[in-house]
Amino acid sequence: MQIGDTFAAWELPITPTLVVSTAIATRDFQDVHHDRDLATSYGSKDIFLNILTTTGLVERYVTDVLGEEYDVTGISVRLGAPAYPYDTLTFSGDVVAATETTMEIKVVGQVSLGAHVTATVGVRVR
Protein backbone atom coordinates (compact mmCIF):
# COMPACT_ATOMS: atom_id res chain seq x y z
CA MET A 1 0.00 0.00 0.00
CA GLN A 2 1.11 3.58 -0.47
CA ILE A 3 0.12 7.13 0.43
CA GLY A 4 -3.33 7.93 -0.84
CA ASP A 5 -4.57 4.33 -0.75
CA THR A 6 -8.02 4.06 0.75
CA PHE A 7 -9.42 1.29 2.92
CA ALA A 8 -12.81 -0.18 2.06
CA ALA A 9 -15.44 1.28 4.39
CA TRP A 10 -16.72 -0.85 7.29
CA GLU A 11 -20.24 -0.33 8.59
CA LEU A 12 -20.79 -1.58 12.10
CA PRO A 13 -24.34 -1.46 13.49
CA ILE A 14 -24.21 -0.36 17.13
CA THR A 15 -26.44 -2.52 19.33
CA PRO A 16 -26.95 -2.50 23.09
CA THR A 17 -25.31 -5.94 23.10
CA LEU A 18 -22.23 -4.60 21.33
CA VAL A 19 -21.92 -1.67 23.77
CA VAL A 20 -22.34 -3.90 26.85
CA SER A 21 -20.26 -6.88 25.73
CA THR A 22 -17.31 -4.75 24.66
CA ALA A 23 -17.49 -2.64 27.83
CA ILE A 24 -17.27 -5.78 29.97
CA ALA A 25 -14.58 -7.36 27.75
CA THR A 26 -12.47 -4.24 28.28
CA ARG A 27 -13.21 -4.38 32.03
CA ASP A 28 -14.90 -0.98 31.95
CA PHE A 29 -17.77 -1.16 34.42
CA GLN A 30 -18.84 2.49 34.31
CA ASP A 31 -22.64 2.55 34.41
CA VAL A 32 -23.01 4.72 31.29
CA HIS A 33 -21.82 1.75 29.24
CA HIS A 34 -24.38 -0.77 30.48
CA ASP A 35 -27.23 0.91 32.43
CA ARG A 36 -29.59 2.81 30.18
CA ASP A 37 -31.70 4.30 33.01
CA LEU A 38 -28.67 5.78 34.73
CA ALA A 39 -27.16 6.94 31.41
CA THR A 40 -30.32 8.85 30.50
CA SER A 41 -30.59 10.28 34.01
CA TYR A 42 -27.20 11.97 33.42
CA GLY A 43 -28.59 13.60 30.28
CA SER A 44 -27.18 11.07 27.84
CA LYS A 45 -29.50 9.80 25.12
CA ASP A 46 -28.64 6.15 25.83
CA ILE A 47 -25.68 3.97 26.85
CA PHE A 48 -22.68 4.50 24.57
CA LEU A 49 -19.43 2.88 23.48
CA ASN A 50 -16.49 3.20 25.86
CA ILE A 51 -13.12 4.56 24.78
CA LEU A 52 -11.22 1.27 25.10
CA THR A 53 -13.69 -0.27 22.69
CA THR A 54 -13.39 2.56 20.21
CA THR A 55 -9.62 2.03 20.26
CA GLY A 56 -10.13 -1.73 19.87
CA LEU A 57 -12.49 -1.30 16.92
CA VAL A 58 -10.07 1.07 15.19
CA GLU A 59 -7.35 -1.53 15.64
CA ARG A 60 -9.61 -4.28 14.32
CA TYR A 61 -10.56 -2.22 11.25
CA VAL A 62 -6.92 -1.67 10.32
CA THR A 63 -5.75 -5.22 10.97
CA ASP A 64 -8.79 -6.67 9.15
CA VAL A 65 -7.45 -4.92 6.06
CA LEU A 66 -3.73 -5.40 6.59
CA GLY A 67 -3.84 -8.94 8.00
CA GLU A 68 -0.96 -10.35 10.01
CA GLU A 69 1.85 -8.79 7.95
CA TYR A 70 2.05 -5.76 10.23
CA ASP A 71 2.37 -5.00 13.94
CA VAL A 72 0.31 -2.12 15.32
CA THR A 73 2.75 0.32 16.98
CA GLY A 74 0.38 3.05 18.12
CA ILE A 75 -3.20 4.27 18.07
CA SER A 76 -4.00 7.91 18.67
CA VAL A 77 -7.70 8.72 18.91
CA ARG A 78 -9.59 11.99 19.09
CA LEU A 79 -13.12 11.49 20.32
CA GLY A 80 -16.17 13.26 18.98
CA ALA A 81 -19.88 12.42 18.97
CA PRO A 82 -21.00 9.48 21.14
CA ALA A 83 -21.83 6.16 19.47
CA TYR A 84 -25.29 5.19 20.68
CA PRO A 85 -27.22 1.97 20.04
CA TYR A 86 -29.29 1.85 16.84
CA ASP A 87 -26.79 4.09 15.08
CA THR A 88 -24.25 2.83 12.54
CA LEU A 89 -20.54 3.39 13.00
CA THR A 90 -18.92 3.66 9.58
CA PHE A 91 -15.16 3.45 9.41
CA SER A 92 -13.06 4.77 6.56
CA GLY A 93 -9.28 4.75 6.29
CA ASP A 94 -6.57 6.45 4.26
CA VAL A 95 -2.87 5.83 4.16
CA VAL A 96 -1.37 9.20 5.04
CA ALA A 97 2.33 8.26 5.44
CA ALA A 98 4.42 5.31 4.36
CA THR A 99 8.04 4.15 4.37
CA GLU A 100 9.56 0.79 3.36
CA THR A 101 8.58 -0.69 6.69
CA THR A 102 5.96 1.56 8.29
CA MET A 103 2.66 3.22 7.52
CA GLU A 104 0.29 5.67 9.13
CA ILE A 105 -3.39 5.24 8.51
CA LYS A 106 -5.92 7.94 9.24
CA VAL A 107 -9.18 6.35 10.37
CA VAL A 108 -12.49 8.17 10.75
CA GLY A 109 -15.47 6.52 12.43
CA GLN A 110 -18.66 8.35 11.53
CA VAL A 111 -22.04 8.16 13.26
CA SER A 112 -25.23 10.09 12.45
CA LEU A 113 -24.22 12.90 14.83
CA GLY A 114 -20.86 13.37 13.10
CA ALA A 115 -17.38 11.94 13.63
CA HIS A 116 -17.32 9.57 16.61
CA VAL A 117 -13.59 9.06 16.32
CA THR A 118 -10.71 10.44 14.29
CA ALA A 119 -7.67 8.24 14.72
CA THR A 120 -4.16 7.76 13.46
CA VAL A 121 -2.85 4.20 13.53
CA GLY A 122 0.86 3.40 13.17
CA VAL A 123 1.92 0.01 11.82
CA ARG A 124 5.26 -1.65 11.11
CA VAL A 125 6.12 -4.70 9.02
CA ARG A 126 6.62 -7.70 11.31
Binding site: G56, L57, V72, T73, R78
Partner: protein, 302 residues
Protein backbone atom coordinates in the same frame (compact mmCIF):
# COMPACT_ATOMS: atom_id res chain seq x y z
CA UNK B 1 -13.57 32.82 44.22
CA UNK B 2 -12.95 35.11 41.25
CA UNK B 3 -12.17 33.57 37.87
CA UNK B 4 -8.53 34.56 38.22
CA UNK B 5 -8.24 33.16 41.75
CA UNK B 6 -9.94 29.95 40.63
CA UNK B 7 -7.54 29.51 37.76
CA UNK B 8 -4.59 30.08 40.08
CA UNK B 9 -5.94 27.51 42.55
CA UNK B 10 -6.40 24.94 39.77
CA UNK B 11 -2.90 25.55 38.46
CA UNK B 12 -1.40 25.34 41.95
CA UNK B 13 -3.12 22.00 42.51
CA UNK B 14 -1.87 20.78 39.12
CA UNK B 15 1.70 21.81 39.96
CA UNK B 16 1.50 20.06 43.35
CA UNK B 17 0.41 16.83 41.67
CA UNK B 18 2.95 17.14 38.86
CA UNK B 19 5.76 17.54 41.37
CA UNK B 20 4.70 14.27 43.02
CA UNK B 21 5.75 12.57 39.78
CA UNK B 22 4.91 9.00 38.84
CA UNK B 23 2.70 6.91 41.08
CA UNK B 24 4.04 3.67 42.48
CA UNK B 25 3.52 0.78 40.06
CA UNK B 26 0.07 -0.77 40.25
CA UNK B 27 -0.05 -4.43 39.20
CA UNK B 28 -2.60 -6.04 36.93
CA UNK B 29 -5.03 -8.37 38.69
CA UNK B 30 -4.24 -11.17 36.27
CA UNK B 31 -1.32 -12.09 34.11
CA UNK B 32 -1.90 -11.72 30.38
CA UNK B 33 -4.16 -14.71 29.74
CA UNK B 34 -6.00 -16.41 26.92
CA UNK B 35 -9.54 -16.37 28.38
CA UNK B 36 -9.55 -12.57 28.66
CA UNK B 37 -8.07 -12.28 25.18
CA UNK B 38 -10.82 -14.59 23.95
CA UNK B 39 -13.51 -12.44 25.60
CA UNK B 40 -12.05 -9.34 23.99
CA UNK B 41 -11.72 -10.70 20.43
CA UNK B 42 -15.20 -12.19 20.69
CA UNK B 43 -16.76 -8.88 21.71
CA UNK B 44 -14.79 -6.88 19.14
CA UNK B 45 -15.36 -9.48 16.42
CA UNK B 46 -11.62 -9.62 15.78
CA UNK B 47 -10.50 -12.80 14.03
CA UNK B 48 -6.73 -12.37 13.73
CA UNK B 49 -5.20 -15.81 14.31
CA UNK B 50 -2.17 -14.47 16.21
CA UNK B 51 -4.49 -13.74 19.13
CA UNK B 52 -5.12 -17.49 19.47
CA UNK B 53 -1.42 -18.22 19.49
CA UNK B 54 -0.21 -16.57 22.67
CA UNK B 55 -0.16 -12.91 21.60
CA UNK B 56 -2.53 -10.27 23.01
CA UNK B 57 -4.10 -7.45 20.94
CA UNK B 58 -2.09 -4.25 21.50
CA UNK B 59 -5.24 -2.23 22.16
CA UNK B 60 -5.80 -4.45 25.24
CA UNK B 61 -2.78 -2.93 27.01
CA UNK B 62 -4.92 -0.80 29.30
CA UNK B 63 -7.48 -3.58 29.82
CA UNK B 64 -5.05 -5.62 31.92
CA UNK B 65 -4.73 -2.90 34.55
CA UNK B 66 -8.32 -1.70 34.66
CA UNK B 67 -9.67 -1.27 38.18
CA UNK B 68 -12.57 -3.65 37.64
CA UNK B 69 -16.01 -3.60 39.21
CA UNK B 70 -14.93 -2.31 42.62
CA UNK B 71 -11.86 -0.24 41.92
CA UNK B 72 -9.51 0.55 44.78
CA UNK B 73 -8.60 4.20 44.39
CA UNK B 74 -4.95 4.93 44.90
CA UNK B 75 -5.05 8.10 47.05
CA UNK B 76 -1.92 9.24 45.23
CA UNK B 77 -3.39 8.76 41.77
CA UNK B 78 -2.92 12.22 40.21
CA UNK B 79 -5.79 11.89 37.77
CA UNK B 80 -8.20 11.01 40.53
CA UNK B 81 -6.94 13.79 42.80
CA UNK B 82 -7.12 16.39 40.05
CA UNK B 83 -10.63 15.28 39.11
CA UNK B 84 -11.81 15.46 42.68
CA UNK B 85 -10.39 18.95 43.06
CA UNK B 86 -12.08 20.18 39.87
CA UNK B 87 -15.39 18.58 40.91
CA UNK B 88 -15.23 20.56 44.14
CA UNK B 89 -14.81 23.73 42.09
CA UNK B 90 -17.98 22.99 40.15
CA UNK B 91 -16.46 21.29 37.11
CA UNK B 92 -18.60 18.24 37.71
CA UNK B 93 -18.81 16.61 34.30
CA UNK B 94 -16.14 14.66 32.45
CA UNK B 95 -15.61 13.78 28.83
CA UNK B 96 -12.74 11.81 27.30
CA UNK B 97 -11.31 13.74 24.37
CA UNK B 98 -8.01 12.12 23.34
CA UNK B 99 -6.21 8.85 23.88
CA UNK B 100 -2.79 8.30 22.33
CA UNK B 101 -1.33 4.86 22.86
CA UNK B 102 2.01 3.49 21.69
CA UNK B 103 2.88 -0.18 21.75
CA UNK B 104 6.55 -1.20 22.01
CA UNK B 105 5.73 -4.83 21.38
CA UNK B 106 2.89 -7.33 21.53
CA UNK B 107 2.29 -8.82 24.97
CA UNK B 108 2.40 -12.58 25.48
CA UNK B 109 0.32 -14.85 27.63
CA UNK B 110 1.87 -15.25 31.07
CA UNK B 111 3.40 -11.77 31.35
CA UNK B 112 2.69 -9.67 34.45
CA UNK B 113 1.97 -5.99 33.77
CA UNK B 114 2.21 -2.95 35.99
CA UNK B 115 1.22 0.65 35.31
CA UNK B 116 2.39 4.03 36.59
CA UNK B 117 0.69 7.35 36.01
CA UNK B 118 1.84 10.94 36.12
CA UNK B 119 -0.10 14.17 35.65
CA UNK B 120 1.14 15.56 32.36
CA UNK B 121 -0.72 18.87 32.10
CA UNK B 122 -3.79 20.87 33.06
CA UNK B 123 -4.87 23.47 30.52
CA UNK B 124 -7.71 25.94 30.79
CA UNK B 125 -10.17 27.25 31.42
CA UNK B 126 -11.48 26.79 27.89
CA UNK B 127 -14.98 27.48 26.67
CA UNK B 128 -16.15 24.43 24.75
CA UNK B 129 -19.37 23.33 23.14
CA UNK B 130 -20.43 21.48 26.29
CA UNK B 131 -19.35 24.12 28.79
CA UNK B 132 -16.31 25.73 30.34
CA UNK B 133 -13.64 23.41 31.66
CA UNK B 134 -10.06 22.24 31.98
CA UNK B 135 -8.27 19.70 29.82
CA UNK B 136 -6.44 17.27 32.12
CA UNK B 137 -3.81 15.05 30.53
CA UNK B 138 -2.15 12.10 32.23
CA UNK B 139 0.62 9.87 30.99
CA UNK B 140 0.58 6.18 31.82
CA UNK B 141 3.40 3.70 31.24
CA UNK B 142 2.94 -0.08 31.22
CA UNK B 143 5.90 -2.27 32.06
CA UNK B 144 6.79 -5.95 32.22
CA UNK B 145 9.30 -5.89 35.06
CA UNK B 146 11.42 -2.85 34.04
CA UNK B 147 10.72 -3.04 30.31
CA UNK B 148 8.35 -0.38 28.98
CA UNK B 149 5.82 -2.17 26.74
CA UNK B 150 3.16 0.51 26.17
CA UNK B 151 2.41 4.17 26.91
CA UNK B 152 -0.70 6.32 26.89
CA UNK B 153 -1.44 10.03 26.93
CA UNK B 154 -5.05 10.35 28.06
CA UNK B 155 -6.87 13.67 27.96
CA UNK B 156 -10.22 14.45 29.50
CA UNK B 157 -12.27 17.62 29.62
CA UNK B 158 -13.46 18.27 33.14
CA UNK B 159 -16.21 20.82 32.69
CA UNK B 160 -19.07 22.77 34.18
CA UNK B 161 -22.08 21.66 32.13
CA UNK B 162 -23.96 24.42 30.38
CA UNK B 163 -27.34 25.03 31.92
CA UNK B 164 -29.91 23.07 29.98
CA UNK B 165 -32.50 25.80 30.47
CA UNK B 166 -34.33 28.42 28.47
CA UNK B 167 -31.04 29.28 26.81
CA UNK B 168 -30.94 25.88 25.18
CA UNK B 169 -31.26 26.23 21.46
CA UNK B 170 -33.87 24.30 19.54
CA UNK B 171 -32.61 23.97 15.96
CA UNK B 172 -36.14 23.37 14.68
CA UNK B 173 -36.90 27.01 15.50
CA UNK B 174 -34.75 28.29 12.62
CA UNK B 175 -36.52 30.67 10.27
CA UNK B 176 -37.97 28.64 7.42
CA UNK B 177 -37.17 29.59 3.85
CA UNK B 178 -39.94 30.94 1.66
CA UNK B 179 -40.09 28.51 -1.26
CA UNK B 180 -41.87 28.73 -4.58
CA UNK B 181 -41.75 26.77 -7.81
CA UNK B 182 -38.63 28.66 -8.91
CA UNK B 183 -36.64 27.66 -5.82
CA UNK B 184 -38.13 24.29 -4.77
CA UNK B 185 -35.41 22.31 -6.61
CA UNK B 186 -32.74 23.79 -4.34
CA UNK B 187 -34.42 22.72 -1.10
CA UNK B 188 -35.36 19.34 -2.57
CA UNK B 189 -31.63 18.96 -3.24
CA UNK B 190 -30.53 19.85 0.28
CA UNK B 191 -32.87 17.18 1.66
CA UNK B 192 -30.99 14.70 -0.53
CA UNK B 193 -27.56 16.02 0.36
CA UNK B 194 -27.13 17.73 -3.01
CA UNK B 195 -26.10 21.35 -3.37
CA UNK B 196 -27.97 22.25 -6.54
CA UNK B 197 -27.06 25.27 -8.62
CA UNK B 198 -29.41 26.56 -11.25
CA UNK B 199 -28.01 26.29 -14.76
CA UNK B 200 -29.54 27.74 -17.89
CA UNK B 201 -30.31 24.90 -20.28
CA UNK B 202 -29.79 27.23 -23.19
CA UNK B 203 -26.60 29.21 -22.48
CA UNK B 204 -25.35 27.05 -19.55
CA UNK B 205 -24.81 30.03 -17.26
CA UNK B 206 -24.77 29.07 -13.56
CA UNK B 207 -26.73 31.16 -11.11
CA UNK B 208 -27.37 31.45 -7.40
CA UNK B 209 -29.77 32.50 -5.97
CA UNK B 210 -32.04 31.00 -8.63
CA UNK B 211 -34.97 32.54 -10.48
CA UNK B 212 -37.37 31.76 -13.29
CA UNK B 213 -35.41 33.31 -16.17
CA UNK B 214 -31.78 33.41 -17.24
CA UNK B 215 -30.45 36.96 -16.75
CA UNK B 216 -27.79 36.26 -19.38
CA UNK B 217 -29.84 34.99 -22.32
CA UNK B 218 -33.44 35.47 -21.21
CA UNK B 219 -34.48 31.85 -21.67
CA UNK B 220 -36.78 30.07 -19.21
CA UNK B 221 -34.96 26.79 -19.76
CA UNK B 222 -33.95 25.91 -16.22
CA UNK B 223 -31.82 22.94 -15.25
CA UNK B 224 -29.42 22.45 -12.39
CA UNK B 225 -26.02 20.99 -11.69
CA UNK B 226 -24.92 19.48 -8.37
CA UNK B 227 -22.13 21.58 -6.93
CA UNK B 228 -18.88 20.06 -5.70
CA UNK B 229 -19.69 21.88 -2.46
CA UNK B 230 -16.11 23.08 -2.42
CA UNK B 231 -15.12 26.72 -2.30
CA UNK B 232 -13.51 29.54 -0.40
CA UNK B 233 -14.70 32.05 2.14
CA UNK B 234 -15.39 35.40 0.47
CA UNK B 235 -16.45 37.15 3.68
CA UNK B 236 -17.81 36.31 7.11
CA UNK B 237 -19.57 37.65 10.20
CA UNK B 238 -19.38 36.64 13.83
CA UNK B 239 -22.92 37.29 14.99
CA UNK B 240 -22.99 37.92 18.76
CA UNK B 241 -26.22 39.84 19.35
CA UNK B 242 -29.20 39.54 19.33
CA UNK B 243 -30.38 35.93 19.68
CA UNK B 244 -31.23 34.18 16.40
CA UNK B 245 -33.99 31.55 16.38
CA UNK B 246 -32.57 28.02 16.32
CA UNK B 247 -28.94 29.15 16.44
CA UNK B 248 -26.25 29.00 19.09
CA UNK B 249 -24.30 32.22 19.66
CA UNK B 250 -21.75 33.29 18.67
CA UNK B 251 -22.97 32.37 15.23
CA UNK B 252 -20.45 32.16 12.40
CA UNK B 253 -21.88 33.16 9.06
CA UNK B 254 -20.00 32.90 5.80
CA UNK B 255 -20.36 34.13 2.26
CA UNK B 256 -18.89 31.24 0.32
CA UNK B 257 -17.61 31.49 -3.22
CA UNK B 258 -18.03 28.02 -4.66
CA UNK B 259 -15.49 26.66 -7.11
CA UNK B 260 -18.25 26.80 -9.75
CA UNK B 261 -18.15 30.61 -9.40
CA UNK B 262 -21.37 31.42 -7.57
CA UNK B 263 -21.74 32.61 -3.98
CA UNK B 264 -23.91 31.40 -1.14
CA UNK B 265 -24.61 32.42 2.47
CA UNK B 266 -24.36 29.65 5.07
CA UNK B 267 -23.48 28.97 8.67
CA UNK B 268 -19.85 27.94 9.28
CA UNK B 269 -19.54 24.94 11.58
CA UNK B 270 -16.80 23.03 13.36
CA UNK B 271 -14.72 26.12 14.07
CA UNK B 272 -14.50 29.04 16.46
CA UNK B 273 -14.43 32.76 15.65
CA UNK B 274 -10.63 32.81 15.87
CA UNK B 275 -10.32 30.07 13.24
CA UNK B 276 -12.13 31.92 10.46
CA UNK B 277 -10.40 33.95 7.77
CA UNK B 278 -11.21 35.24 4.31
CA UNK B 279 -10.10 32.86 1.52
CA UNK B 280 -10.21 29.89 3.90
CA UNK B 281 -11.00 26.69 1.94
CA UNK B 282 -14.40 25.28 2.88
CA UNK B 283 -16.69 22.46 1.90
CA UNK B 284 -20.37 21.84 2.32
CA UNK B 285 -21.89 19.69 5.06
CA UNK B 286 -25.51 19.22 5.97
CA UNK B 287 -27.61 20.24 8.94
CA UNK B 288 -30.85 18.28 8.92
CA UNK B 289 -33.50 20.27 10.78
CA UNK B 290 -36.43 17.92 10.22
CA UNK B 291 -38.09 15.99 7.39
CA UNK B 292 -38.94 19.15 5.51
CA UNK B 293 -35.74 21.16 5.85
CA UNK B 294 -32.03 20.49 5.55
CA UNK B 295 -29.67 23.47 5.55
CA UNK B 296 -26.30 23.57 3.84
CA UNK B 297 -23.53 24.50 6.26
CA UNK B 298 -19.83 24.80 5.53
CA UNK B 299 -16.80 23.45 7.35
CA UNK B 300 -13.09 24.01 6.90
CA UNK B 301 -11.61 21.93 4.10
CA UNK B 302 -8.19 20.54 5.00
Amino acid sequence: MSDIDLREAVMAKALELQVMGETAPRYARDQVNQPMINNWVEAMGDSLSRYTQGEAPPAMAQVWTMGGLNPQRDPNDPLHSMMEFLTEQGFTAVLGTNCEQTYERYLRVGEQLSVTTVLDSVVGPKMTGVGEGYFVTTKSVWRVEDEVVATMLFRVLKYRPKQADANAVDPTKVLRPAINRDTEFFWEGTRQGELRLQQCGSCHELRHPPGPACPSCGEFDRTFVVSSGVGRLFSFVVHRYPAVPGKQLPLLLGLIELDEGVRMVAELVGMGPEDVEIDMPVQVAWQRIDDSLTLPVFERRS
